[in-house]
């Protein structure tokens, strides 16, 4: 059960990228996961959601791109421009509604 550590490392990378891009928030992170990576997809998603919930990164979608091989890579992330009133990340539910349209 090392998926919590993998999820934490993914979030650390997201935070690092987010800090480089003021005015934007990260909406989605895509992780490329090989069938020989030794990482369980359901467990990783569960841990990821548990770590994101209630933080300034919430909502943040994790997409797992399942491939052959031993890949465990951060493929890309998607940024959204932060709207007025949500700049401090205190209104995750509002951002969630907007991004789900």
């Amino acid at each position: 059960m090392h998926e919590m550590g993998i999820a934490q490392s993914t979030l650390d990378a997201v935070r690092k990228e987010a800090a480089l891009r003021p005015g934007y928030r990260v909406a989605k992170i895509v992780v490329r996961l090989g069938d020989l990576s030794g990482v369980d997809t359901e467990s990783l998603s569960f841990c990821f959601d548990a770590l994101v919930q209630g933080t300034d990164l919430d909502p943040l979608e994790l997409v797992l791109d399942q491939v052959k091989g031993d890949a465990l890579d951060l493929a890309y992330l998607e940024l959204e421009e932060i709207q007025e009133g949500t700049a401090n990340g205190n209104h995750p539910s509002l951002v969630g509604e907007e991004s789900s349209q």
Binding site: M1, H2, G5, I6, S9, T10, D12, A13, E17, R21, Y24, A27, K28, V31, L36, S37, G38, V39, D70, L72, D73, L74, A75, Y76, L77, E78, L79, E80, E81, E98, S99, Q101
Partner: protein, 227 residues
Amino acid sequence: METTRVSLEKKVLSENDRIAATLRDQLHQRGILCLNLISSPGSGKTSLLECTLAGFHPATRVGVLTGDIQTDNDARRLARYGFPVQQITTAGCCHLDARMIEKSLKLWNLDELDLLLIENVGNLVCPASYDLGEEAKIVVLSVTEGEDKPLKYPATFHRARAVIINKIDLLPYVPFDLELAKRNVRAVNPDAEILETSCTTAAGLAPWREWLQQAQAQANTRQPAAV
């Protein structure tokens, strides 16, 4: 809402891999062979290390890092052979990572080592994901575990340079198909060296020591190129 895609294309564990790469550099520069032993709990990693240490000349420059979730039992067992040993207690963590190795190695003068043996936490899943800066991963599989382990834990067996089938003295007593086990190893890792050992009868320890010597000779000859 408009979104902007930013390509990352790096390892999820890039921070671990960065530390591991630094460790690997340090070990390469000194011609130190570093091996990472992985297995399920109870397959005989510590016993194999005991047999290995017992066979060394007292002047052998070998150090052992042994990882466990709790207790320093293994370090106490291994320290009896007179070589430097450190226990890494992970307090719940199911694998060793590069940061733990870095922290432990700070306590040692690497110039005094030719061989570094790392005994990972007993677990066939998680240790596979964490590069410790080792030259090679060795997977130990005992005959009481079932011959399908390589197929059940392909990520770990796939990354092994050598697979040691241990406790072969028990073969007459357990329904373990040795040839099938080897075929299963080869199915996920055609290049792995397969060795058979028993720490009780000492069967197969000589080929293991030979393998170790060869690997060490290779590590030592790499030294001038790396400097």
